[in-house]
Symmetry: C3
Subunit: 210 residues, 3 copies
Amino acid sequence: MADYTFLTLIEVIGTIAFAISGIRLAAYRNFDWFGAYTVGLVTAIGGGTLRDILLDIPVFWMQTPLYLGVTGISLAVVILFRKMLVSNNRMLFIFDTLGLALFVVIGIQKTLAAGYPMWVAIVMGVITGSFGGVLRDILINEQPLFFRKDIYATACIGGGLVYWLAGLLGSGPIGCQLACAIVIIVLRMCALRWNWHLPVLSMAVTPDKK
Amino acid sequence: MADYTFLTLIEVIGTIAFAISGIRLAAYRNFDWFGAYTVGLVTAIGGGTLRDILLDIPVFWMQTPLYLGVTGISLAVVILFRKMLVSNNRMLFIFDTLGLALFVVIGIQKTLAAGYPMWVAIVMGVITGSFGGVLRDILINEQPLFFRKDIYATACIGGGLVYWLAGLLGSGPIGCQLACAIVIIVLRMCALRWNWHLPVLSMAVTPDKK
Amino acid sequence: MADYTFLTLIEVIGTIAFAISGIRLAAYRNFDWFGAYTVGLVTAIGGGTLRDILLDIPVFWMQTPLYLGVTGISLAVVILFRKMLVSNNRMLFIFDTLGLALFVVIGIQKTLAAGYPMWVAIVMGVITGSFGGVLRDILINEQPLFFRKDIYATACIGGGLVYWLAGLLGSGPIGCQLACAIVIIVLRMCALRWNWHLPVLSMAVTPDKK
């Protein structure tokens, strides 16, 4: 029960972080309030929704109006503080990274609780953390950042593997969750700091000399 | 039973309206017949499909070939009467609005029947009414109209709230459904007539004076 | 049991064919390795995933790590042999057609096994065969080829009808499956050879003479 409350708390924080990121992008496109709310909501709950559908468990945001309400608050925050949010990319990066780490942990936790093996849990962690952003990019008709941007999904996988290793080494769930979240946050910060990225898969044929 | 038949009837009318709207847009893009059929079908059944998956109830169009057949008839109508349909935006607006109102009513009805609270039913009403159109816009690779166009989704929410209020005031299901549908149709017509829209969420920073 | 093994085998071959087709397209867009892997995976398992969600049966790729592994091998193949793959459109067409035929057969088979009637099975065959490619095109932000390209989906429907007819004529499952796959392959090859396509649905109004 205490564990459940804790998971809900970090899910709410992650929801706010992701909703703000979605609403902000919608604002750049001059969406109306409802459109911006929808993009924020989809960004925040899209990953968890796909996870719950794939696991065939009740969809989390349909059990309590909490997540719809939290997204509404996020919209109000963006409307009130838009000037501050425009100029502060660093703060948004922190929010987004925190949301990512928390969502991956929750995705793994729920999948294991549903009785699936660890490799499915890692996949669901990645989906929970990143599918909302992919949906957001599809809705605003942009090529999903996911496929080119730094090591977003790779960080999720790294965190998932650490969760698994920590469990093998005898850690309890809280320890696994903490280790997973920390690794994701550190990986993304390092990637930003030193400009890490995966190799690009290029089909470019060497042009024949003229 | 009578109620069920009535719901099926309005679902069929809504299906035709939405299928024609999808097929017409596909035709502007020179899709082939099958592509146009698919876009029409997705527009018509997309919202209800997502609703049924989220509610974890059997997907409605897999229970009877009715909806696939009705979409086929819609395609034939567009092929035969394309000239008339090109020049008649007003008639399509009426069809689309009617379809929207009917689909929202059905979404609310089915969600309440599945035992969910009213706020979930309103969300499902909005999804049933508008998700098909969002899918259509994604398939033809346009930015979804949903996020900018008049008060489409807002009208759905308005209708949903009226459904809820009518129930609180002691109305039976038929009364609630009628009130909901009428409010949606009136709201959309007023929005068209007086150019109502929601405030746009703009991030534009006041440009510094040069 | 033997039948089950056989179905798994053709599902794996289809997965490789579709994964390579997705990864190759991602490579043209300079996706990083993980992005390319994801596009390949979505192309390969997208159709079957939607089918399993609609049928409300366990999602196939969550039951065994086979499909994720096979997609990884496909990525390695593309990385190692990219030069060969660039210049060989014919081989990819064959792979893609084979994958299509196998996936349609599997979609029909699983839907019938879940107790649905033949018309639902044909729809699921089309979805299994073509939805992955639609998702792929959405992810790389292209207008889905599906809606314009030769007789892709039409070939699936043709195969499905032949499956049904073969059953009516007394053939066992293996016979139906073979007939279905052969018809799809032959239809696509004929379409390529003689440039068959469905009529385009055009809304173009005859321009008034100036």
